[in-house]
Symmetry: C2
């Protein structure tokens, strides 16, 4: 229906996405699209209308801003926002979906029309779709979070008390913008023991590793710059890079990670400002890049003169196999920015990460770091330093590695047992997540809706793709739940997949018998 009713006229003067948005609103006003009706997926409408997916995404964003549609978590886009639907009920049906666009939005208060920055209008907010919660207790295989039941709170409390007693009130003062020197030295030393060529002067302490992505963006990106990313990649990296109005270029992965031949091809065609990679237990796939591949990728980066950001968010969470050398241990390491965090290997509550910044970038980075939020918490840094120096981090890691390893094995066993044969998954050596591929025609968001109803959460693959692809994939996190609950969660998901497969097969049979008649 939409294909015939939404007329795109390239000589119209209005941008295409606006024509689509106006078209949808007109159909809603005319009653051809009912309130609460689900719009086609971005991918599908793009195919129907013969336009780019980004254009449809822009149209849907525009409609959401106007209040004419509502995007529901991992579910889709619906005509008429919740507000509109409620208002319509109150008004006895007098308010049409199309009029819902009159809800308050930027600029219409106090007679002032505010103008936001362009970046606030960039792309759909994948995170908002993921993070809406409905407070239903469920088996959490979605978020990439450690299990707080095992946080070493008592050890940390003792260390925190000692820190305050020893340092006195000055511990609550501003620290330096680079961070607490003994902690920077401790980290540099640990990384050097792992073979990385990192000096403590290179290390800047951050308020978590997400801040590192923001600061590197500030350091390197101008509007329109290109960034090479793994496909799929971390959804919040997509989010922050897009805030800088950059163009993200997805580079396909194979079982060893990003393909250097494709990277080389892309960089030969057009330049880029950064290559962003998670070489260990990649988020979302769990894939670890082997040493030979790392060498190839870095060689391509250096040859094209593009810096590489190595995100080691969960580098220490290895449960099997031998550690692979960091890019910082390889020829060309001067070209690598190295990002780390305490959030995954210890706990996220202190908001502490770090970035190793090669000398070439140091001075401009220092300025950017200061103006962004001055410095990270001194108390948090001094306490964590003491915690690490005491060997408490390593003790904690030992416990967590055993727990996580058991959970990963439990998940793999459960998938073998409960997932139908056509489903494929990765088998990571570490980290927090693995990656599932369903048969091509099966939609993971549809599956997620059913799974949530049945009390299990996971992260749909679309979130980690730039182009609306990955609809038949999803990410499972195995660090938050116990082995028992993982087994139950996987069984539930497996049953739902099997049921959908049976239904699909049924409808195919029905269809083919239809043709035969």
């Amino acid at each position: 229906m939409l294909k015939e009713k939404i007329v795109i006229d390239r000589s119209d003067g209005r941008p295409i996405h606006q024509q689509i948005a106006d078209g949808v609103e007109k159909l809603a006003r005319d009653g051809e699209l009912g309130a609460g009706e689900r719009l086609p997926s971005i991918r599908r409408l793009a195919v129907l209308l013969g336009v780019n997916r980004n254009t449809v995404a822009q149209a849907y964003s525009e409609l959401e801003r106007r209040g004419s549609v509502e995007t529901r978590v991992g579910s889709g886009t619906y005509v008429g926002g919740a507000d509109a639907a409620q208002a319509r009920e109150r008004a006895g049906g007098a308010l049409s979906a199309g009029r819902a666009r009159n809800r308050p939005r930027a600029g219409n208060r106090g007679g002032v029309e505010h103008s936001l920055s362009r970046r606030t209008r960039s792309g759909p907010d994948a995170l908002a779709r993921l993070s809406v919660t409905d407070n239903v207790p469920r088996i959490e295989l979605g978020g990439l979070v450690p299990d707080s039941d095992h946080f070493p709170l008592e050890d940390f409390r003792v260390v925190m008390n000692e820190t305050m007693a020893e340092m006195g009130p000055g511990i609550l003062d501003y620290g330096s913008r680079e961070g607490y020197p003994p902690l920077r030295a401790w980290l540099a030393n640990r990384l050097r023991e792992q073979g990385a060529s990192i000096h403590e002067d290179e290390i800047f302490m951050l308020g978590g590793s997400q801040q590192g992505l923001d600061l590197v963006s500030k350091l390197l990106f101008d509007r329109g710059d290109r960034i090479m990313v793994e496909s799929p990649t971390y959804h919040n990296a997509i989010g922050v890079f897009q805030l800088y109005e950059t163009e993200l270029v997805p580079v396909a992965m194979d079982e060893y990670g990003m393909r250097p031949d494709l990277l080389d091809d892309e960089l030969t065609r057009r330049s880029a400002k950064l290559i962003y990679l998670m070489p260990n237990f990649q988020n979302p796939t769990g894939i670890t890049m082997p040493l030979a591949r790392r060498r190839e990728v870095l060689e391509v980066a250096v040859r094209h003169g593009i810096p590489l950001l190595e995100d080691h968010f969960d580098a220490d969470l290895r449960y099997a196999g031998e550690p692979v050398a960091s890019f910082k241990a390889l020829k060309g390491h001067e070209n690598v920015l190295y990002l780390g965090t305490f959030s995954k290997m210890l706990f996220p509550g202190l908001r502490l990460g770090w970035l190793a910044v090669p000398e070439a970038f140091r001075d401009p980075f220092r300025k950017i770091r200061t103006y962004t939020d001055l410095a990270p918490s001194r108390l948090a840094q001094v306490a964590i330093h003491r915690f690490c120096e005491r060997g408490l981090l390593d003790e904690h890691l030992e416990r967590v590695l055993a727990i996580n390893s058991g959970r990963l094995q439990a998940m793999l066993r459960a998938m073998e047992r409960h997932f139908p044969p056509d489903v494929r998954w990765t088998k990571p050596d570490g980290g927090m997540s693995l990656w599932i591929e369903l048969p091509a025609q099966m939609n993971a968001v549809d599956l997620l809706i059913e799974a949530r109803r049945a009390g299990v959460n996971f992260a749909p693959g679309e979130l980690f793709h730039l182009d609306g692809s990955g609809t038949n994939s999803f990410r499972l996190s195995f660090t938050k739940e116990t082995e028992d609950r993982i087994e139950r969660g996987i069984r539930t998901i497996g049953e739902l997949i099997a049921a959908r497969m049976a239904a699909d097969a049924g409808s195919r049979r029905a269809e083919s018998s239809n043709i035969l008649l």
Copy 2:
């Protein structure tokens, strides 16, 4: 000399600033400028060459990047960096200042030429000049910092322990991106008691108020946008706004703060994206804007449709007079973003501030806030909330108000006693700083060099100006040092001013007698 030797040719093709930079380097190579020689101030060279001050600032930045000059803290720009000078010593003088530009800089490592974002190349880094330290113990009247000797560490330690015991390990987990709800509610309630129209849903907890400036920049600014700021204004606000490649428009102040007539004139000529103001105890001047003036300024803002960012960094530090209503208590408050912090009224070490975001900006702000660094520390927020709810913040404020008030009075008394009659200063009702104006011909940076040698630090006025003006002004902070040390510091500064005045008068006499002869 420089005037004749640096030839500016507008038909040359090279940008003017590059011609100036090349000219300076040529003079250094030819030995006409000796290594270590001080270059004229930006203002002075601009006058000499008949160019804009920004052009000279760009030239000096360019020279610094090339390694040909060195900018020293609050002192000036010198031919040949420290590295170059040392290298020259080692090389027995064989290395000329001009060749010092071969020192490592962005891009020349590993054969890779890196390209930074435009914003990293913006303007001189005022902060770097201010914050370089030489570890000489001195009377600190420079930085705007509370006195850590009076931080309520023991109360905080107790509260922190209770928080951890009560909340369990989950306290170390991620919090929500908006912040800890009870703390947001507590803050909203406190602000409402002060008359502000702020709902808890509007409040986002931040990692300090500097982060608020960064987030508001992301929310509102595109390259080339204009921002109206008080002149003088907070140097780190200048820094972060310039990172977004904006144009800052200084609006002159009188004794009541920013002049609404000038603001109106500016906004009538060309639009802007934001008006940035510190209405209470402004940094650096200490001026508080009276209610009538607030109404006038907000009326202008609303009439032109420009949002106003009200920075209340030290709003609770009032030692005299009655509180003045916040912009959030006035007609047009929907147009106001309100920024606060615990750093000045309590302590800065936890990095906690907040921003009240009116509904019109809420959704885009939420996205930006998440992608920037996910969320502030949960532990810090829960502990501070408990601290505040127990009344410990108010107890602490009572102590600090008495101490700071005594220190402000001590500083005012000392200035009356030790400053020559031609020196003028503000008399704030609160906050942390006051503002000194020397006779017009006297340079505060020159004075600062002498003051530091004599063991006293302050903040030169140029830092707080956009155009290199304010050279005869400086900021004194009265919150960090005891009354005794304030008296000694002011006496030292007073003696130095008097000595310079005598020397100036002497040279004027010498000069006039010269004419008479």
